[in-house]
């Protein structure tokens, strides 16, 4: 069992770190403050190949493994949580299901431009009345000749409005089981921006990851070609769940990056900040807190990397992904809160990065499955 990264992974990490420090970090505060989607950074990431890292070269990607992609999200998130989630939602939630379930035509048509970063992707499952209870979704799709007609709305959609391609989960039939209980059958669809009847609702004003574009999607007799059904009809729910398993590793990496970034800044700060005549880093309270945080982060990193390796080698990796996301997200929240505490009053001021990082950390415990959902997945496997 070797925990050392290979030379190529080390070099990839140094690339992501260099890019994050040079291109992303200088804009992070402004992106948060102005809630502006960092389109220029996304264009630079497209050019550098960051928008198709785990995608085979034949589909326009970089041909790397999930671990490399995860390290990219991690390094970006060390300096800007917003930039991290843009890459994660695009790659894990939009490209991955098309690669996994798409026909050859769908892969050629959609994956190649997405992986090259010519287009941006998003994923739409959540609805106002259906969060953790995803089965409660109401959006429907009906086949009418050569077209599917979608009606309903989706909310809290990351990369909403800025994305060109959307994976949308909708009910395509309702069946009754032997006892007469009704069961919704979902299907997955690829919807292009600009499809007739597809529009955007309100932009959400969020606590953190404020530069990330979060929108409501509205479908009013939205017509899409019949061939844009993704995977078999009626299999939308397992497709969505499998997609989220991958997405959770991305969010776990985002959480890990946020925690690492906050700790880095706090170590610097505690060496400079003097109280009672000496640097607070010389106080044992600070030292113990730093030690606890570093240990917890290392544990989170091992879980996240293990989940990424599981995605590369296993067909099913739900439990690994759930554990990684649960632990990394709770680590991010705990670490950033502690970092703000060590900064004292300055930690509460928006000029200091840790304030933003604490706000950014919170969402990692909520989206792509709350921490409670992760516990359900983990315990479900234990009690099977």
């Amino acid at each position: 069992m070797d925990f050392a990264l290979s030379k190529k992974h080390e070099m990839a990490r140094s690339l992501f770190k260099d890019f994050a420090e040079t291109e992303v970090k200088p804009l992070a505060q402004e992106v948060d403050e102005t809630e502006k989607f960092p389109a220029e950074t996304v264009a630079k990431m497209a050019k550098a190949g960051f928008l198709g890292i785990p995608v085979p070269k034949e589909y326009g990607g970089q041909g790397c493994d999930p671990l490399t992609y995860i390290m990219c999200v991690e390094e970006l998130s060390k300096v800007c949580g917003t930039t991290g989630v843009i890459v994660s939602a695009h790659t894990s939630l939009c490209i991955d299901p098309i690669l996994t379930y798409g026909t050859e035509e769908q892969k050629q048509k959609y994956v190649a431009p997405l992986a090259k970063g010519e287009k941006l992707g998003a994923f739409a499952l959540t609805e106002p009345g259906a969060g953790t209870d995803a089965q409660g979704a109401q959006t429907k799709a009906v086949l009418d000749g050569d077209e599917w007609v979608l009606n309903g709305s989706k909310c809290f959609i990351t990369n909403g409005k800025v994305a060109d391609v959307y994976i949308v989960i909708a009910i395509t039939s309702v069946t009754e089981d032997k006892r007469g209980r009704k069961k919704k059958n979902f299907s997955a669809f690829i919807v292009d921006k600009g499809a007739p009847g597809f529009s955007f609702g309100t932009k959400e004003k969020k606590m953190g990851i404020r530069g990330s574009s979060t929108y409501e999607l509205i479908f009013e007799d939205c017509r899409i070609p019949k061939e844009n059904l993704l995977g078999p009809e009626g299999k939308g729910f397992p497709i969505a769940m499998h997609t989220l398993d991958g997405g959770r590793i991305g969010i776990a990496a985002q959480a890990l990056g946020i925690a690492e970034g906050a700790l880095e800044r706090t170590i610097e700060y505690t060496k400079e900040r003097k109280q009672f005549g000496r640097a607070i880093a010389q106080q044992q309270n600070t030292q113990f807190k730093l030690a606890d945080m570093a240990t917890r982060i290392e544990a989170a990193k091992l879980l996240v990397y293990k989940a990424a390796m599981a995605k590369a080698t296993q067909k099913v990796y739900s439990v690994e992904a759930a554990k990684a996301k649960l632990f990394a997200a709770e680590t991010a929240m705990a670490v950033t809160t502690e970092c703000v505490q060590l900064f004292g009053g300055y930690g509460y001021i928006r000029e200091y990065d840790v304030e933003r990082m604490m706000r950014d950390a919170k969402i990692t415990e909520i989206y792509e499955g709350t921490s409670e959902v992760q516990r359900m997945v983990i315990s479900g496997a234990l009690l099977k």
Binding site: K7, K8, M11, L15, A48, G49, G61, G63, T68
Partner: protein
């Protein structure tokens, strides 16, 4: 078109320079990077490749560790990489280095050679022009813009407050300034290819022809280092907070006091 780019792995001097007790650089304690001027030279070559098609070969002489800089060049888009490494080549000054690199280049076909202007560790700016002398080809140094026109290159050569536009027929050698361009990032896929798909050719002393043993390594280096030092750190300075006229007067007095004016 075939382009050879000569690069050097150097210690990153961003955080200051560290020396061994004998005055040589303590390379082990400093991060190693591709020399910035060389990286600009590589980018210039890759842009020519993007525009008109070219085969780009990167070449370096150094320790086996210098392979990392070659992999980085491959990950940016270079096609081939050659590492010239041998114990007997160690301790080379600019003369021994240029003799060795020129001998390596004689094994290759080329239309254009690009080197960096100078390396941030030695700061001599001699190796590029010396390679051209050994190969008996024209050299244009301090390039801040490179254009290819038929079988010639047209280079804007930096010259104090102006530039010279110099045209030379290929084959020739150009030394690049870091101001020439902003080098591209490696791509993740390029990194994987650099390690999984591409090979680095390794040459030792015996692979280099037409090279006199008296022109290589420490023994073949006429340069003797009397003393090496880091840049002298500036003093902390003095902050004054007067009005404009008063400030000017104060500064003038200080300059007079120090006999500067």
């Amino acid at each position: 078109m075939k382009i050879i780019v000569c690069i050097k792995q150097v210690p990153d001097t961003k955080g200051g320079v560290k020396f061994n007790p004998d005055g040589t650089l303590d390379r082990a304690s400093m991060l190693a990077i591709m020399n910035p001027d060389d990286k600009a030279g590589l980018e210039a070559a890759l842009r020519i490749k993007d525009e008109m098609g070219a085969e780009v070969t990167v070449l370096t002489m150094g320790l086996p560790k210098a392979e990392e800089a070659l992999r980085e060049a491959l990950a940016m888009g270079a096609d081939k990489a050659i590492l010239v490494t041998d114990r007997v080549l160690g301790g080379a000054d600019t003369w021994a280095t240029s003799s060795t690199v020129a001998a390596a280049i004689r094994n290759l076909d080329y239309d254009l050679i690009i080197t960096g202007r100078q390396a941030i560790d030695g700061d001599t700016a001699q190796v590029g022009p010396q390679i051209a002398e050994h190969l008996n080809i024209p050299v244009i140094s301090y390039a801040e813009e490179i254009k290819i026109e038929g079988d010639s290159v047209i280079v804007k050569r930096q010259y104090e407050d102006r530039y010279h536009e110099v045209k030379a027929k290929m084959p020739c050698l150009i030394t690049a300034l870091s101001e020439l361009n902003v080098p591209r990032y490696m791509t993740p896929g390029g990194i994987f290819d650099a390690y999984d798909e591409k090979e680095i050719t390794v040459w030792g002393r015996n692979d280099l022809k037409d090279l006199d043993d008296g022109d290589i390594g420490l023994a073949g280096s006429p340069t003797k280092i009397a003393k090496a030092s880091d840049k002298v750190r500036k003093g902390a300075g003095e902050r004054i907070n007067f009005g404009t006229a008063e400030s000017v007067e104060y500064i003038f007095d200080k300059l007079k006091e120090k006999h500067i004016i």
